[in-house]
Amino acid sequence: MRGYLGSRIAQILPTLFLVSIIVFGLQQLMPGDPALVIAGESAGDPALVAQIRNELMLNRPVPVQYLHWLDNVLHGNLGYSWRLQEPVMQLVEQKLPVTAQLSVMAFLFAVVIGVPMGILSAVKRNTAWDWLANGIGLFGLSIPTFWLGIVMILVVSVWLGWLPPSGYVPLTQNWVRSLATTVMPAFVLGNAIAAILMRHTRSAMLVALGQDYVRTARAKGLSEWVVVLRHALRNALIPVVTLGALQLGALLSGAVLTEQVFSVPGIGKLVVDAVFNRDYPVIQGVVLVTALLYVLLNLITDLLYFLINPRMHAG
């Protein structure tokens, strides 16, 4: 176990290095000139645009620009946003908790809705419950996030006046208002993931319920729900946990559309705006931090396997 953990941690740095090169390279392929975007309404002044390019080192060779950035990163400096003139690290520290809160709430919605529905669908296979669960799953997968978001704003905020339509209040400032501003986007975000979790839970449960140990448990006279929850579910959870962790990682990387629709100032919105504004330091910084979180989440997922089923080997 210790050796396995050590080798996984040792893989993190080369992974991040590779990610940084890829994102830096991909940025260069993007059409559009950051200097023109930064100049804004003054983009008609060629001398100004040239000056901006010079100040941002955009006229230097790409490898030189990369090494300059990398040197700063190794000294703990992710650079400054060209648009906002704020440190990228400060922006990430501001936005990450927002996306984290949204992601956790969305994930909870997904688990609370998706896993029980998946279990029910598997246990009541080919009944009305199964079809209902599949229908809800199909709805969750098919409905575009932005459409659902806007419809919910219209119904819940404008017509019914139950919840604020957009924005964000930090948990530490006012937890009630914070939940009020995040419950709708979290539901919209969690809705699609609930459908995915439901489908996978159902498949995994069907496999588990067909195993010999489940037949043995039933033969021993255990109640059906003990058989399902204590025996079958425990093994069915392994692929579901993997999937869940991957989905949580995807959530953390930015619930882009949802944050745009609900104006939630999270990491997804930050990086989308950075792309549109060609704010390279923000793009690079956010991608690097997100990659690090993703890698760490995968590591935690693998460790969770040992908790769920200690007999598993590192392989």
């Binding site: 008609g44 404008v158 104006s263």
Partner: protein, 505 residues
């Protein structure tokens, strides 16, 4: 036990509700169409940034509802001669940190605009060669040459005065906590979430301020912005899209304010920049005139913008003092357009590519134009592009035609010089005509509007012979707000001025 707990909780809840609360500060919540860039008037380039500056930073001059230049931190001006502009300053004004506003502060700010690393203001006021402090309330600007648009610049971002001590100390970080001489002080900013300002008690015009706090909230999606206004989460939205106007008009809790704007949209042709200029439409003025004749502007505006915008054939829309009434868009005339296509020597259908920023309304307008020009003999291919990419393509001359807008300037020179003068920064199509250059330069020498308009009338006649640009529609400022919000003054530059606004009880 459980019952006692719930009863105690309910009692506590009721008591909390019944306890007397301090009077809530009156806050004005304004929705913006996007998040501003850096809040430093020297370094910032976004339009919505100007709206936030209006809340916290006064300028030397301002505009009134007729777009006339009026005093603000400067009480007046005079020209000693065409190259010496004297500014008289308002006495008794302080910055939000207590510093005195005086001639030295004006000199400091203007020099900062001219020389600071990263300044976006230099090109706007580089007519200034020297700044002299005559006395604490008088500044003399020495100009390199006569420059009538300069005064308009001092009513814009270059005229925003910053607290010199703070600006000097903070340098490029000034935008993280700006200090100016406006009605509200900066409190905090969470990027993409909100900008909070607090009333400045020492403001020179304090009696015009009736709010304790202003919060600017950027909401990019227009439907969500409207939903926030309808639900009461916002008090005012600085831009309602034309297709949402009926919804606001129907809502008994809301009202609209609409005015002309100096902005416009049009089609720029590449007539002289790079290999893409060597296209049929780039080489033939007849084809460009035919293209113009094939477009029914009124129908296009009706379809895309509910008929709200004016059809135009010049850079300064109706309402502008520089609008020339005799310069009108032609009625759609397909037979005449077909004759021009035939006279061009190119065989119909003539293929034209048009790059179009991928915003829904502009794309829709491009599709309408595509349908309209087809009977005239054009096969228009639309290339939708993300905005920054389209801008880069235009700068590189990598286009045949480009459907794009301009936010507009109060002074005509800002809407014309860069676009039509040889080498102009926004002259993406590489248009070059010595007669037009001479007329543009000549207009800069006159200070009176009628004299400048006489020059511009000649200019439009010349430009329409060659048609390097087709002006399609002028924009409008459409502001939505709660019915009880009083005192809103609609100024054509679209900036929200909080002075005089209040919430009726």
């Amino acid at each position: 036990m459980r019952r006692i707990f719930f009863a105690a909780s309910a009692a506590a809840f009721l008591l909390l509700g019944a306890a007397p609360r301090p009077a809530a500060a009156q806050t004005l919540r304004i929705g913006l169409r996007e998040d501003p860039d850096v809040l430093d008037p020297t370094l910032g380039g976004s339009y919505v940034g100007r709206i936030v500056f209006a809340g916290m930073c006064d300028k030397l001059f301002d505009y009134d509802t007729k777009l006339d230049i009026v005093p603000q931190l400067a009480t007046g001006y005079e020209y000693k001669d065409p190259t010496h502009l004297i500014l008289h300053l308002r006495p008794g004004v302080t910055f939000q940190d207590g510093e005195k506003f005086d001639a030295a502060a004006v000199k400091y700010t203007l020099m900062r605009d001219l020389t600071m690393k990263g300044t976006l203001r230099k090109g706007q006021i580089d007519a200034i060669s020297a700044i002299d402090v005559i006395d604490p309330l008088t500044v003399e600007l020495v100009l390199k040459s006569p420059d009538s648009p300069l005064l308009a610049q001092l009513a814009g971002r270059p005229g925003i005065m910053v607290a010199p001590e703070v600006a000097e100390k903070e340098g490029a970080k000034f935008g993280l906590h700006p200090v100016c001489a406006g009605p509200f002080s900066f409190v905090k900013r969470v990027p993409e979430q909100e900008i909070v300002l607090q009333r400045f008690p020492g403001y020179w015009n304090a009696k015009a301020i009736h709010f304790d706090q202003v919060v600017y909230v950027p909401i990019v999606n227009s439907a969500v912005r409207l939903a926030n206004l309808q639900s009461g989460a916002l008090d005012l939205v600085e831009y309602i899209v034309p297709t949402d106007v009926p919804a606001v008009e129907k809502d008994p809790k809301l009202k609209l304010a609409m005015s002309w704007s100096p902005g416009y949209d049009g089609i720029t042709f590449n007539v002289g920049k790079g290999p893409m200029a060597k296209s049929p439409i780039g080489e033939s003025a007849d084809l460009r005139k035919a293209f113009d004749l094939a477009i029914d502007r009124k129908a296009l505006i009706q379809v895309v913008y509910n008929g709200l915008y004016p059809a135009i054939a010049q850079a300064n829309p109706p309402g502008s003092p520089f609008y020339i009434p005799s310069v009108q868009p032609p009625a759609r005339n397909i037979p005449e357009a077909q004759k021009l296509v035939a006279a061009s020597g190119f065989k119909a259908p003539v293929t034209v590519t048009m790059i179009v920023p991928n915003s829904p309304d502009i794309l829709q307008a491009a599709q309408v134009v595509q349908a309209m020009v087809k009977p005239a003999g054009f096969d228009l291919k639309i290339q939708a592009m993300e905005f920054a990419s389209s801008l880069a393509a235009a700068h590189a001359g990598d286009f045949q035609s480009y459907l794009i807008g301009w936010s507009g300037r109060a002074d005509a020179d800002g809407n014309m010089y860069s676009f039509l003068h040889t080498g102009g920064g926004f002259n993406w199509g590489g248009y070059s005509d010595p007669v037009v250059n001479k007329l543009l330069d000549e207009a800069r020498l006159y200070t009176s509007v009628p004299e400048r308009d006489a020059v511009y009338a000649k200019l439009w006649a010349r430009v329409h012979e060659q048609m390097p640009l087709i002006y399609l529609w002028g924009l409008k400022n459409i502001v939505g707000m709660k019915k009880e919000l009083m005192g809103f003054r609609q100024v054509p530059d679209g900036i929200i001025r909080i002075q005089g606004m209040s919430m009726a009880n």
